[in-house]
Symmetry: C2
Subunit: 267 residues, 2 copies
């Protein structure tokens, strides 16, 4: 399997490295940014280009891991002259149909994970969501994904965009709560490390209990005494204070929303 | 060491069980709620009472794990007739001084962890923050805490209240982000289990990178295209939509706040 990576960010880096380990041949890396392109090409001992028209034409698979806006801008130019190949993008939020009328063979390979350049990820634990323009392409994508992880699921564009939204909450927003925690500690000269055991347990709990069952703390028991003290402590941090209040209300109200959604579902 | 547990909630249950394992004798459990009191007493094969005046007087240590309001209401009544004993509370948000003028020997034993009745917790990984009315009591508390965990730190009431606030963000608020993620998935009929690998990696990352360095996703790269699509998807969930927007802005702005706080700190 001969592959070209379009994009040289975190996703391209992790996928490219793992696919090469799995025996695929990475022919070339494309990126608009020389620094990223050359770094990833060096890592994979392959070539790179900064120009779309110099992307090589003899790959079987083009994996497009670009920002959504760049993906939309470049799709046609990428396919031109390479119509026989399979084009897939990795973005959770973009529908497969962006390739319709542009490429003949296309699909999506969405690894639901948070990738940072400075941290290794074991792709074997990552769920991959796939979708393709035909059952043949779907089977091909399933084989490629199966080289990377045992967790390969089919998902429609509609399901995938909800998976992506849910992932923003569970990952980016949860991480931001860590960041705000770290910010509060830093102002007191307390190292963030003291929080790690609590963070691990919070993540570990939802393997056994649902997040609503797992919830503890002042908001869920509506302990106004504590909530008011915390709001007072944030008096010089207006946006943090507003966020604290809004999330506390949301914690208090969510069990009601869940139960009314259940009722609606049962009707 | 003879101990009475005041309160029979999650914290009392986990501490009581672990202290008994460590060889302490749990003389009695007090709670206003018969169901909780009898359940914990049965678990510890000990007695319980629902009346403050029936709390036994010959314990060395009274561990008070009550809601903050109940703690304030009951403190005097608890000490009366038991003035020789050591009184400690477990709440992160309550100052040690609530015992001043009430008890002679007092302190705080704050385990920074999220406890649920239905989940076992390895207290050995939990940091305990202690504070006491005298250096003798502090050493006694240090010994008791050291039976439970190797991570025992001294913290003032001022530090502890910030630790508690930071813990609300890193634990309760992060868990709420899981809950909202689960809510979004449930409406699509997708099981929450698909999110666990991402949740684990998000928690794992901050052992290596700071949360600000670890951040990924549309908000930190300010990908307005994705952010607007997500806001559109939440159009029927006004409070979720508002929360999404506010947290995204906070993610985008936090690195600036951190760097300006650093600058203020260096001045």
């Amino acid at each position: 399997m001969k592959i070209v990576l379009i994009g040289a960010g975190n996703v391209a880096t992790h996928l490219g490295t793992a696919l090469q380990k799995a025996g695929c041949s990475i022919l070339q890396v494309y990126s608009r940014t020389e620094e990223s392109a050359s770094a990833l090409a060096a890592k994979l001992s392959t070539d790179y280009t900064l120009k779309v028209e110099e992307i090589c034409g003899d790959a079987d698979l083009y994996i497009v891991a670009l920002k959504d806006t760049a993906l939309q801008l470049l799709a046609s130019a990428l396919v031109k002259g390479r119509e026989q190949a399979l084009f897939v993008h990795t973005a959770g939020s973009m529908p497969m149909d962006l390739w319709k009328g542009v490429a003949e063979r296309y699909g999506v390979l969405y690894p639901m994970q948070t990738f940072s350049k400075r941290r290794e990820v074991d792709l074997g634990t990552v769920p991959f969501f796939i979708e393709a323009s035909s059952s043949e392409e779907l089977e091909l994508l399933r084989k490629i994904a199966a080289c990377l992880s045992p967790k390969v699921y089919e998902a429609t564009s509609e399901q995938r965009k909800h998976l992506h939204l849910a992932a923003v909450f569970a990952c980016n927003f949860a991480n931001h709560m860590y960041a705000l925690s770290s910010y509060i500690l830093k102002k007191q000269g307390i190292p963030f490390e003291v929080m790690l055991s609590l963070i691990d347990e919070t993540a570990g709990k939802v393997h056994e209990l649902s997040p609503v069952q797992a919830q503890t703390g002042p908001a869920v028991r509506y302990d106004e005494n504590v909530i008011c003290k915390h709001l007072d402590m944030l008096v010089d941090e207006a946006s943090l204070q507003e966020l604290y209040e809004m999330i506390s209300k949301s914690i208090h109200n969510l069990p009601l929303s869940v139960s009314s959604a259940d009722k609606r579902g049962k009707k």
